[in-house]
């Protein structure tokens, strides 16, 4: 901590570039402005001071469990977030726009399934695919295709399907059902976007324009996405941890016997719990009092709509997009999941 505090102090004494001003770089008088670096320094000092009261505060088992789940959702997501951010910065800076025109079929209606299938090769969970899809749209890929990729990638990649096979050793048809249902939902949502979607719903935060070297632009894109997607990930993790602590599993027991209610209950649970798509199969396996179909719906909904994804999509694509896209995806995932489950399971 001391090293970073020192750095903050050193930075804090520098004259700051006023972000609002477009005027010539005229350094403001020292010590007059209270900018974000100073605020950060004060916050950090405060945090060190209140450390012990804080530790005493969270000795309550519920708060402690909340903190553990919150931290662990984030720690689990960090490698995938960083991987996704780096890949999206590569797309933004190093892959020319013309590449996407050549790689994807010209007709948008064909580009959607192609992008959905491309999700198979990207091993990772949903936290990484949000910034990647954002980057694809920025680079001129039709939003419908990028959205199909966004939905398909976390659900049908090899790692997730292997985990599903391991979690359901007695039901290999679960793997087929999961992959099929997820792909159908992803492609259907892409086509739905082509018919009904409006580009003005998507409002992406402006990325900083960096002059200078490509490396500089690359670092700027990474920084922007980490702060942005990462910040919304924190929001989502906090929500998921709250649900994890507040909703006792015993409540679920009461609805398990009703086929319709159990599907709805597990679909909502998938949204609320926000478990990483590589782990949700194990959780689904342990919900053994529920029917296979309702657990399939859990696996189809989870990687496509959950609290942390909604938070991240709000951040990356804008609020008007998220309030339409998330409920529509939820409905599609529940219907397709239940339908595939009725046929295959």
């Amino acid at each position: 901590m001391t090293a970073t505090d020192g750095m903050t102090d050193r930075l804090g004494t520098r004259p700051e570039a006023d972000p609002e001003s477009t005027a010539a770089p005229q350094p403001p008088p020292r010590g007059r402005r209270f900018g974000s670096v100073e605020l950060l320094a004060v916050l950090l000092v405060l945090l060190v001071v209140v450390r012990d009261p804080l530790a005493a505060l969270i000795s309550d088992p519920r708060l402690q469990t909340w903190t553990t789940v919150f931290v662990s959702v984030l720690v689990q997501a960090v490698p995938f977030l960083v991987f996704g951010v780096v890949l999206s910065a590569v797309i933004a800076v190093f892959v020319p726009r013309s590449f996407w025109a050549r790689a994807l079929p010209k007709h948008p209606a064909l580009a959607v399934p192609a992008a959905g299938l491309a999700g198979v090769v990207l091993p990772g969970c949903e936290c990484g695919s949000v910034p990647i899809a954002g980057s694809l749209i920025r680079r001129g890929v039709t939003p419908a295709a990028a959205l199909a990729f966004l939905l398909a990638a976390p659900a049908i990649n090899p790692i997730v399907l292997t985990a599903t096979a391991v979690a359901f050793p007695g039901n290999p048809e679960m793997v087929v059902a999961r992959a099929g249902a997820s792909l159908v939902v992803a492609v259907a949502m892409g086509w739905l976007w082509l018919r009904l979607g409006k580009t003005e719903w998507i409002k992406m935060p402006p990325r900083p324009h960096e002059d200078g070297s490509r490396l500089k632009a690359f670092v700027a894109a990474c920084r922007h996405d980490v702060m942005h997607a990462g910040g919304f990930l924190v929001l989502g993790a906090a929500a998921a941890a709250t649900i994890n602590v507040v909703v006792p599993e015993a409540w679920l027991q009461r609805v398990a016997d009703n086929p319709v209610l159990s599907i709805i209950a597990l679909a909502v649970l998938a949204v609320l719990l926000s478990i990483c798509s590589e782990a949700d199969a194990f959780v689904a396996a342990s919900l053994s009092q529920f029917s296979l179909t309702s657990r399939l719906v859990f696996l189809v909904v989870g990687p496509m709509v959950d609290l942390k994804l909604i938070a991240m999509q709000t951040g990356v694509f804008g609020r008007r997009f998220a309030i339409r896209f998330a409920p529509a995806t939820f409905a599609a995932a529940v219907l397709v999941g239940a339908g595939v489950g009725a046929v295959l399971l």
Binding site: L47, G170, G231
Partner: protein, 236 residues
């Protein structure tokens, strides 16, 4: 938030991830297999932060950033929360509270419910999940006549009697589910909840139902127990 503040937050965040993954701290939250990826992510975050600072200090904070419609993500401040969580609070691994909230993880056996004989040893160390599967799905056949030693933490059962539990984690603590084993016999385990203990005993045919998810909870006929320090890897 300007770029320098963002860089410092990224540096702190990356540093916290690195510190947690280079010590044993990360084992409280995620699986061991994630460690190399955590280290890689931490290094990338720190590198991006250092490069941002370097460009900014060298370039004197050039004014091309934003062109007057500057929307630096304010939500990025929230990244201080995990820094706080990892560096200052470092919450413990899931314990008896979480174990009481969810049902035991023991689910239907794999297609080949063929349990090999236990390794040699008296007592022989057996994992809780292994013991429970052998007891419930194999009718205790491979456990009969053996003295086993189980390791876990104490958690109050539904009837108030202490049980032995361990969290089973497949990805991160958010998906942690308990595996529970009841303690039977005259030797009472009197340790407080969340204390780690080693329990020695023999298989008994007694089973109960976990009230949370109706899964079966096997029992162990306890002959002895001792308190231990929490193992490095607390999850199974």
């Amino acid at each position: 938030m300007n770029r320098q503040a963002q860089a410092v937050i990224m540096l702190l965040f990356g540093g916290a991830v690195l510190k947690a993954s280079l010590s044993d701290l990360y084992l409280r939250y995620v699986k061991e297999a994630l460690q190399p990826f955590l280290i890689g992510a931490g290094i990338l975050l720190v590198a991006a932060a250092v490069l941002t600072l370097w460009y900014d200090l060298r370039g004197g904070g050039d004014q091309h950033d934003g062109h007057g419609h500057h929307h630096e993500p304010r939500v990025g401040w929230l990244l201080l929360l995990p820094v706080l969580g990892l560096l200052l609070v470092a919450p413990p691994a899931l314990g008896s509270y979480a174990a009481g909230q969810s049902g035991t993880v023991l689910t239907a056996p794999g297609s080949d419910s063929d349990y090999p004989a236990l390794p040699a040893g008296d007592p022989v160390d057996v994992g809780l999940l292994d013991y429970a599967s052998r007891a419930v799905f194999d009718g205790g056949r491979s456990l009969t006549g053996r003295t086993v030693r189980l390791t876990g933490f104490v958690t109050p059962g539904p009837d108030g009697e202490p049980m032995l539990a361990r969290m089973v984690v497949s990805c991160c603590a958010a998906d942690g589910r308990p595996i529970k084993v009841g303690l039977d016999g005259d030797t009472r385990v009197t340790a407080a909840p969340d204390t780690w203990v080693q329990v020695v005993g023999a298989w008994t045919s007694r089973v109960a139902k976990d009230p949370v998810n109706q899964a079966e909870v096997p029992y162990l006929q306890v002959t002895g127990w001792q308190e231990i320090t929490a193992p490095k890897q607390q999850y199974e």
